[in-house]
Amino acid sequence: MIFEPIQIPWTILGLFIVFNVGLILTGTVRKIGARVGRRRGIRIYQPYIDLVKNYALRSNFTHGMMFYLAPVFRLSGGVGLIVFMPLIYDSVHFSNFSFAGDAILIMYFMFFGTLGMALGAGEGGVPFSAIGISRGLSQVTAAEIPLILAFLAVFIQTESFSITEIVAAQQGGFLNWTLFTNPLATATAMLAFLGSMMRSPFDIVLAPQEIPIGPPTEFHSSFLGVLSTNRAVFPMAKTILYVNLFFGGATSWPELILKSFLLYMWSVVVGTIYPRFRTEQSIRWFMKYPLILGVITILVLQFG
């Protein structure tokens, strides 16, 4: 696979779909959440309005270079993830720029946006942001511990880092999905997944009243707009990655959307049930059950 200019419009199209799916998914999820609380809840298209509103605000100020660049980093991180990942299996057009790297790249590229965001929030000068970042980073790195084990398990199993190949290995019936071929790894990954979605019980990072929503405290209007854009893209990127690695990938857009939705719902369901963890509690939690599960996964692979 090499780069051809025609890939650019296709990639943008894929990105556009993902973006919209992401926004609608956000709305839907909130709607479902409201219905569970017996409210009507927001309109499903509310995220679009919010986005437009944020871009349409007039005031604009910046705390400095990194503050300005933070949303750019953040969104580049999200978009980059999508761009480096094949979206639809066996589709030439929606393989994006996945020739540049493999799953390892995705794993590490996830932090690109996080870092930029953290830097920008840091330059904002609000101590609350810094506290939020400290929590967020601690928690994310903890959540990655089982995640790495789960990923390793997949890599070991398929002997490849290439997402395309990993998906290929899961083709031919749902029983070939990693979910079924390696349920332990999938379970581990799903536990880790909770930690990276910033939802309850792992949402102390954004504690709204304690540290007025933490890292993004100072971001407003267009900066917030860019960040919100990423809020649509980034979770999608993560879910798509999971879909690819553990749930057989997707051979068509509807399949991808459905799988993503279900996966997304997993964190929502858990979040509506469980109360919030303190940061160190969540770190300890990740270092307990998911870790043990992950270690067993690897042990089974190595000696089983």
């Binding site: 020739f99 830097l119 929590r135 903890a142 405290t217 160190e280």
Partner: protein
């Protein structure tokens, strides 16, 4: 060679004695008496010198001197052989210089003291030359009485009590010697040593008693531990000038006597001697740790050194042909260094070690002090180094590994207090109330011995086996020497330029044709050296003491790469250690850290030495080529372990890492990158050499690379977690280095193509970004004058360029694509899956995540957040430092875009060592069995996306107003002070709560505990020396009785 007229050696005694008697006429003219004494000593020295000269250059044969016109054994005869000439020369020479040094003391005490001094030297000469055992006794008595007299040259109560104790003990000892002699006469029928040897006393019933008494008494004269309190007290009480002579001359003389007399006994006695020596060496050095008084400490050290000589003597049969060279090296070093140090002690006057800071008023003397200490401890290029080297090689070849271990252990203990002392001198306050006494007559002897140390070092280097290969060090060391000489006169600008030019030239001329690994490391060492030196332009003034040692370190590093045999390799290793030690010591608060650095380095070096010795012995090829590591026949696991652990003291593997954070953090801002980014790679290079030569070995059934892999992984994770919790920016980076080098060791342990590629990529990357980070943070620290991060904050506004450096540095460090650090991560995953070391790989991956935490912390707490009041007008880091940083940034960018530029050639030459699993390159894309990675594509795509979004944001928020730090949402309040609004202290508090248990300072506690135990033992054991002369006498008797049980049997 020139023929010198030989003068009958009896004149040494005649002139000494005659002049001493003559001095009786000069009761008034003290200066004349002093001059006469010097003249006599000069003549005595000259006589010995003529003999020594003839023995060395003219093939002179040993000559017997008969007295009274009769032949031995019936009359007393003297012998002048090569070693006699050598020893008498040493004695008279130090006597001469010591006489000069003692000018004021001798003059104060008058003619009597002068003649006593002269007689002491004469007596020592007599001890060396005489071949008659009773005559020997007489000369011993002369020497010991003269010593007892000179102890009280400064007549105070301490001196007299010490002198009295000395006399009690030495009186007892000589009494026993006398009994031994008379019984030897009874059983042997003669007093002549040569005939006694022939008489074979041990064959006669009861002869063993005579032999026992003679030898034990002579051993006791050498002040064996613990029956040596009397000697130690004497060292403390007597004037330093006298100590110099006692330590340098009499120890050598009495030692020589023992070697002369020992042949009357059998092999068992050689062993006894060696054991006594070893106990003394270990015990005295252990005791030295707890000393606070310079002279007493040196006393312990002297006694210890004599113990070491005894060990050699005891092992002389095993040392074989190398015996002479080893003894020569150790004795000459001890002689020069101990005399020099005692003289310095006299110049400083104060006894307390902690007041030695005043010596800094005379930098040259500090330089010589360092010289002497290094010489004493056997560091190159001093004679004792070559002796120790030969010793270890020889003993190893003889299979006496326990002895090697104990000798190295004792040396390490000795290093503890000597280096601590040096640290005090270089770093502690210069107490203005104290004065330094530096008349010319006191400094000249120090100069002479200091310079001689270097010259003899050179001589020894030519004598050691393989010494001809050492010429490679001449040019760099000559350059270092020139730098030393001009150091005081030239400004930084010139020295820096010259150094850079010299390094560039050296690199170009000598190292351009290196290949493979060596080339890679040459780039790191020399290239890195030049870049860090560029940053040195930021310094003003003269920076005395920096350039010579920096160049010495680089000379060592270059030497490592150029070395072809283990001797060159080891010398380079030590040179590097030495240079870097001083560099680290230069930091403001670095005293304890430099000490622990030196101790760990020395410990590591000794392990390496032991390992090389074993390898030398085990290969059996009698060759010192580096290739012997490939032909190791036995002990291969042990050798591997020794060398690996030795090298890992430099790479600071967990457990051996505690020196690193302090050393790197407290060093100057441009030294930190040198020691962290560059120096650590020396350890890695050592591992490269080791692993390529020996492959993988196992010890006790465990594969050592496997262990290394675990060790590396654990180091990586723990190092990084520790870094997360640091409040000190440089300490954070230092711990990060620990972790990063853990990756390297981990990756090397794979022993596979990808593993090594990973390791080398890591190494190169770590060099670039750690140098960058240390330089950037160093620049910040230079400006803010603090290393504590939470005291800073918001510096991005004042130091944007430094910020960018740090930003690039941390992105590279944390391995985020698109920058170069990702290369290492990607490769390591490949290697991990291929090798199947999943858990280790997992640990390392976690370590990478954790790295992300501290990376953010360092940039956030320093550059982001709230700027503080006092940094309002702070300036950007100096331009030279920025230039150096931006060169490194350029390198990072280049590697990021074109990783194939470096990795492909590296992979190509790795194929010959590890043919399987090589990467395939398609242009800039690396393809492994498992995945692919295209640096250039990642970079372009990321930049493209970033650019587009940036332009979009720029467009929609084009009217953004720039606001000030306090324009933040603070729950409706306005922030009061920046200090209260900057979140930086204990940044990852929750993380600490959760995983803090992992970084309990267990290792630190272990080493500190060890140090504590050592100190406690030292403190406990030194209670033996309760200051009571009777007790000392009691120990002497006990020593004798106990040994009689052991040797003769109950």
């Amino acid at each position: 060679m020139v023929n010198l007229i030989l003068i009958n050696p009896i004149y040494i005694i005649g002139i000494g004695l005659g002049t001493a008697f003559l001095l009786g006429f000069f009761k008034k003219g003290k200066s004349v008496a002093w001059a006469l004494m010097l003249a006599a000593l000069a003549v005595m020295t000259y006589i010995s010198f003529t003999w020594l000269w003839s023995f060395i250059f003219n093939g002179q044969l040993p000559e017997q001197v008969y007295t009274a016109g009769f032949k031995p054994p019936f009359s007393i005869n003297l012998l002048m052989g090569k070693s006699e000439a050598f020893f008498t020369f040493l004695i008279s020479f130090v006597g001469f210089l010591g006489g000069i040094y003692l000018f004021d003391k001798l003059k104060e005490q008058g003619t009597h003291a002068i003649s006593v001094y002269l007689i002491l030297i004469m007596g020592l000469n007599g001890i060396v030359m005489t071949r008659d055992i009773f005559n020997l006794f007489v000369f011993l008595e002369i020497a010991s009485i003269a010593t007892a007299g000179l102890i009280v040259l400064t007549p105070d109560i301490k001196a007299f009590s010490a002198g009295f104790k000395y006399m009690i003990a030495s009186g007892l000892i000589s009494g026993f010697l006398l009994i031994g002699i008379i019984f030897a006469y009874y059983f042997g029928g003669t007093l002549n040593i040569d005939f006694l040897i022939q008489a074979d006393l041990l064959a006669v019933k009861g002869g063993v008693f005579a032999v026992f008494l003679i030898i034990i008494a002579l051993l006791l004269e050498l002040k064996p531990f613990p029956a040596n309190g009397w000697g130690i007290d004497a060292y403390e009480a007597s004037p330093a000038g006298i100590n110099a002579v006692i330590s340098a001359a009499s120890a050598g003389a009495v030692y020589y006597v023992l070697s002369k007399v020992l042949p009357i006994a059998d092999a068992k006695w050689y062993t006894v001697t060696a054991v006594v020596g070893m106990i003394t060496f270990l015990g005295s050095n252990l005791m030295g740790i707890k000393q606070a008084d310079a002279k007493r400490m040196l006393g312990y050290s002297s006694v210890g050194q004599v113990g070491l000589l005894l060990v050699f003597l005891g092992l002389s049969k095993q040392l074989g042909i190398n015996f002479e060279f080893i003894v020569f090296g150790i004795i000459i070093s001890h002689y020069l260094a101990k005399a020099g140090l005692f003289w310095l002690a006299g110049i400083v006057k104060t006894g307390k070690l902690k007041e030695w800071g005043i010596l800094r008023r005379k930098p040259v003397l500090v330089f010589f002090m360092g010289t002497f200490i290094f010489a004493l401890l056997g560091l190159p290029p001093f004679p004792s180094f070559f002796a120790k080297w030969t010793l270890v090689m020889t003993l190893s070849a003889a299979g006496m590994n326990l002895w090697v271990g104990l000798i190295l252990l004792g040396s390490l203990v000795e290093a503890i207090y000597l280096f601590r002392w040096l640290g005090y001198t270089v770093k502690l306050d210069d107490n203005k109330e104290l004065s330094l006494s530096t008349p010319l007559y006191k400094t000249i002897p120090v100069w002479v011995f200091g310079l001689l140390t270097y010259y003899i070092g050179y001589l020894s280097s030519t004598m050691v086996p393989g010494g001809s290969s050492l010429s490679m060090f001449y040019i760099p060391l000559a350059f270092v020497g020139v730098l030393f000489i001009v150091d005081k006169f030239l400004p930084v600008l010139i020295k820096n330029t010259v150094s850079i030019a010299a390094m560039a030239y050296y690199g170009w001329y000598y190292m351009a044709d290196l290949t493979e690994f060596r080339m890679l490391f040459a780039i790191i060492f020399i290239g890195g050296g030049i870049i860090t030196l560029i940053a040195g332009y930021a310094k003003n003034g003269k920076r005395i003491g920096f350039y010579p040692f920096a160049m010495m370190m680089y000379a060592g590093l270059a030497g490592l790469l150029l070395s072809e045999n283990i001797l060159q390799f080891f010398i380079s290793w030590e040179l590097m250690t030495l240079g870097s030690y001083i560099l680290i010591l230069r930091g403001k608060k670095s005293m304890p850290h430099a000490l622990s650095y030196m101790l760990f380095s020395l410990g590591g070096a000794f392990l390496i030495l032991a390992g090389l010795g074993l390898a030398y012995a085990s290969s059996g090829a009698n060759s010192i080529s580096l290739d012997i590591l490939k032909n190791v026949n036995q002990y291969s696991g042990l050798i591997y372990a020794f060398l690996a652990v030795g090298f890992m003291t430099k790479t600071a593997a967990i457990g051996l890492h505690i020196w690193l954070p302090g050393a790197h953090a407290e060093a100057e801002s441009d030294v930190s990158p040198m020691v962290s980014a560059i120096l650590l790679k020396a350890g890695m290079f050592g591992l490269v050499v080791l692993m390529l030569s020996m492959g993988s070995q196992s010890l006790g059934g465990v594969s050592l690379p496997y262990l290394l892999g675990w060790l590396g992984a654990i180091t990586a994770i723990l190092g990084n977690i520790m870094a997360v919790f640091q409040e000190d920016a440089k300490r954070l980076l230092a711990y990060s280095s620990v972790g990063q080098l853990g990756y390297v060791v981990f990756a090397m342990a794979f022993m596979s193509h990808l593993g090594w590629l990973t390791a080398l990529a890591f190494a190169l990357n770590h060099f670039v970004f750690k140098a960058l980070l240390f330089l950037a943070i160093g620049g910040v620290v230079m400006r803010t004058k603090t290393k504590t991060m939470y005291e800073m904050g918001g510096l991005i506004k004042r130091m944007p360029f430094s910020f960018i450096s740090v930003l690039i540095g941390i992105i590279a460090l944390s391995g985020l694509p698109p920058l170069t650090g990702f290369a290492g991560k990607w490769l390591s995953y490949n290697a991990v899956i291929e090798k199947g070391w999943y858990f280790q790989g997992f640990l390392v991956s976690i370590a990478g995540l954790v790295a992300f935490l501290y990376c953010f912390r360092i940039i956030h707490v320093i550059f982001l957040g709230q700027p503080k009041d006092k940094f309002k007008n702070i300036k950007e880091a100096p331009l030279p430092m920025l230039i150096a940083q931006y060169i490194l940034i350029g390198a990072i960018m280049l590697f990021s875009i074109m990783p194939n530029m470096v990795l492909k050639p590296v992979g190509d030459f790795l194929i010959q060592y590890f043919p399987d699993g090589a990467l395939q390159w398609q242009g800039g894309t690396a393809i492994s069995r498992l995945g692919r990675w295209s640096g250039v594509a990642i970079m372009n795509i990321t930049m493209g996306i970033f650019g587009i979004i940036f332009v979009w944001l720029l467009f929609i928020s084009r009217k953004a107003v720039k606001v000030k730090p306090f324009n933040i949402f603070y729950s409706g309040e306005a922030p009061s002070r920046p200090e209260l609004t900057h979140f930086g202290y204990n940044f990852f508090a929750p993380y600490k709560k959760a995983v803090g248990f992992l970084v309990q300072p267990l290792v630190t506690r272990f080493w500190y505990g060890l140090a504590d135990i050592l100190h406690s033992i030292s403190d406990l054991v030194r209670r033996l020396y309760n200051g009571n002369g009777q007790t000392y006498a009691f120990y002497v008797i006990i020593f004798m009785v106990v040994f009689s049980f052991f040797t003769i049997g109950g």
